[in-house]
Amino acid sequence: MRIERIYKTEKKENTYEPSVDLTLLDELINKYKNYKGNLIPILQGVQNIYGYIPKEACIKISNETGLKLSDMYGVATFYAQFKLKPVGKHIIKVCHGTACHVQNANSITAAIQEALNIKDGETTSDRFFTLESVACLGCCSLAPVMMIDDEAYGKLTGNKAVNIIKNIKLNENK
């Protein structure tokens, strides 16, 4: 279901949100301001700029374009692409399409979860990696597959996947 219940007990203190540079939005707003059906392209643009959709950005857009905040929130929570929280530097997308599923994609996710100590959809505490499950990357012949940023890695095992991730981190810390 595409509706997520918001529980009041949810702790607010974890929602770390750095303040963002709102002037980056001006060009985007000018481009789409008077264009019908502009809501999704605007949100996609916002996410391209910041990597996620910050609340402040929505407020500014709403003020300048007249789009309703409630509509924006509705659309942003409906589509899987939009993220309302900041994400890690690298996004690990583990494919869970049918072909990958029958080739044991679950064990890949399980191994990565264990290695990074995060759950599916979460970001590591050092904000280095975000782990996601995606429906299909379209590289079914290489199943099971994961994609880190824009690079696809095929024919994985749990161990292989964990090693690839460790190497990325090692190479960057050098």
Binding site: M1, R2, I3, K36, G37, N38, L39, I40, P41, L43, Q44, D71, G74, V75, F78, Y79, A80, Q81, F82, H96, G97, T98, A99, H101, V102, Q103, N104, S107, I108, A110, A111, E114, A115, V134, A135, C136, L137, G138, C139, C140, S141, L142, A143, V145, D150, A152, G154, T157, G158, N159, A161, V162
Partner: protein
């Protein structure tokens, strides 16, 4: 030597397999050694299992090389280019050539043969001839629509509605404003036909849309493409710009007065339900992609409430060919009610995964065994999943089913967009049903109660069964819910969501029963029902499994018997597949 051309396949699947590195290697060698072969690009030829694929055209003879990484690229240049000796060991051999036997390429006619980023190559393959023919001979809208009706072409997105009729409904509406939409929101997991078409031959889709626009009288076109296909979007943008420059898009197309048509691309934002036409329209309008009641159908009231024609990518790709070659030529292929060809994406437990286009009427057995080369590792074929989350599983004993809309529907599956995922004896059918339901449950837009809550309840039951907590009566409860969801949902997603469950119950009821009654997973997939243990008599203490284990659940010193800590074990099976001494038992 100058007549030699090297073409690297750069589709998404090729790139994932490392084709960019191969291409760069060729480019470097060419530059550094000042060789004068021609280096070209193309897209997916369909043989995903041999990517990266490189074609060398030497004096008009084609040599197809498979699995070409950077090192092998060097080898090919050294031997074939410099010495004129083809590298036999790398050539795609005779048995793999049988992948093409019986295939008829209409929609995929140019895929893997032309550079998708170059309009001249499309034109050289008779591209844009169909629309030129229409304009030049002043063919009327009625005639075009009649040709499409006569050809018997049906919607390739899965619905199977006659395309010509759809066009006629839109053409009959008298308004100034009409739209043509291309549905490229290919969401079925395990399906990648449309992606390959968009990446491999974007102009054929654009030409199909131009013809549709002419026939129905539309001036605006939208391609709704999923954002997960960045390469397809990039190539579409290039193609649209080129078509505009050449006067195939814009105002007074091909100098015909008042024939104006423009196309723009709308990126989807990741929602499976947007493949449904009314949800897709809502999404283009910038709203939550929720389907609405039909009628009115989009042909009457679609995008911004104007008459709208929506077809799938593959449908449009067929159009120019039909106009060029005539309805009778197209009708030659296929069965009585399903004409022409269909593209299928082969994946899963199959030797040659990739893209095939076969005439309707081909048997599933032939697709899997003749084209697909059968099941790897000598395993037994169990079932094939057709139609993604809306489809169903066709068991091995029905593999003589032919592919046409009616025959596939009779099995309880659907033709769908053409994803074909092959399953062998190591696939648990209850787990497959749970997998699909998990998908549809997450993707349900939440509008209809039965789809929103019913799928959730079904998923819970399936989860219990796969965890070994199923009880008597669960199967009946699943069936009851399934029929209620089918009857009480507004759109295709809900109406078909229970299909994977219903077909697996129908054909593999025994697997459900053994999960429930004996708490046993025959295929040894369901994690709660299996354990990996080390047989102390066979273990040599080689430590391979301990190193392979991604969660360090295996302990033991060198040359001593190892032990699996069941509490840490995530049951990934890596130890099982890596042990050389068969010391690990799965029970």
């Amino acid at each position: 030597m100058s007549s030699i051309k090297i073409i690297v396949g750069l589709g998404s699947c090729g790139i994932a397999a490392g084709a960019n590195k191969t291409y760069n290697e060729f480019e470097n060698i060419k530059k550094n050694e000042n060789l004068n072969f021609i280096l070209g690009k193309t897209s997916c030829i369909g043989m995903c299992f041999r990517e990266p694929i490189v074609e060398v055209i030497d004096k008009n003879v084609s040599f197809l090389y498979g699995n070409v990484d950077a090192n092998k690229a060097v080898e090919i240049v050294e031997n074939h280019i410099k010495k004129g000796e083809p590298v036999k060991s790398l050539l795609i051999n005779e048995t793999d050539q049988s992948f093409f036997e019986g295939q008829v390429k209409i929609a995929l006619r140019n895929c893997g043969l032309i550079d998708p980023e170059n309009i001249d190559e499309y034109e050289a393959k008779n591209g844009y001839e169909a629309i030129k023919h229409i304009i030049k001979n002043n063919i009327s809208q009625e005639e075009i629509i009649q040709t499409i009706i006569d050809s018997g072409l049906r919607g390739r997105g899965g619905g199977g509605f006659p395309t010509g009729l759809k066009w006629k409904f839109v053409a009959d509406k008298k308004t100034n404003n009409k739209y043509v939409i291309c549905n490229a929101d290919e969401g079925d997991p395990g399906a990648f036909m449309d992606r390959s078409l968009l990446e491999g031959d974007p102009h054929s889709i654009i030409e199909g849309m131009i013809i549709a626009a002419y026939a129905v009288g539309a001036t605006e076109g939208v391609i709704y493409c999923r954002a997960e296909y960045p390469l397809a979007i990039k190539r579409l943008n290039i193609a649209i710009n080129q078509a505009r420059q050449k006067g195939y898009l814009g105002n007074n197309i091909l100098s015909k007065n008042n024939f104006n048509f423009n196309i723009h691309i709308k990126e989807g934002a990741g929602a499976f339900v947007c493949g449904e036409e009314t949800a897709l329209i809502a999404s283009i309008e910038g709203k939550r992609g929720m389907p609405r009641k039909r009628p009115p159908f989009p042909a009457e009231s679609g995008l911004w409430n104007y008459p709208t024609n929506i077809n799938n990518v593959e449908t449009y790709a067929n159009i120019p060919w039909i106009i060029k070659n005539g309805a009778n030529e197209y009708k030659k292929y296929g069965t009585e009610k399903s004409k022409g060809t269909k593209v299928f994406a082969l994946a899963g437990k199959i030797n040659r995964s990739g893209l095939v286009e076969v005439p309707m009427g081909f048997t599933i057995h032939d697709i899997i065994f003749k084209l697909g080369g059968g099941i790897p590792n000598g395993k037994k074929f169990k079932a094939v999943q057709l139609g993604g989350p809306s489809g169903g599983c066709i068991p091995e004993y029905l593999d003589n089913t032919i592919v046409d809309y009616e025959s596939v529907t009779a099995t309880g599956a659907i033709m769908g967009s053409g994803g074909m995922v092959v399953m062998d004896e190591t696939t648990c059918m209850v787990d497959v049903a749970r997998f699909f339901l998990n998908f549809t449950q997450k993707e349900s837009c939440g509008k209809c109660t039965f789809c929103r809550i019913g799928t959730k309840r079904m998923l819970e039951i399936l989860e219990k069964i796969t965890e070994g907590k199923g009880k008597e009566g669960d199967i009946e409860k699943l069936e009851e819910l399934a029929y209620l969801i089918k009857e009480n949902s507004l759109c295709g997603l809900g109406q078909t969501a229970p299909n994977p469950v219903l077909t697996t119950i129908k054909y593999f009821r025994n697997e459900y029963e053994s999960h429930i009654k004996e708490k046993k997973c025959i295929a040894k997939v369901c994690k709660n029902l299996i354990t990996y243990t080390i047989n102390p008599e066979k273990c040599t203490g080689c430590m391979v499994c301990a190193i392979k284990c991604p969660v360090k659940a295996i302990t033991g010193q060198k040359k001593q018997i190892h032990f699996i800590n069941q509490e840490l074990c995530i049951k990934c099976g890596d130890c099982y597949s890596s042990c050389k001494f068969n010391a690990i038992t799965l029970s």
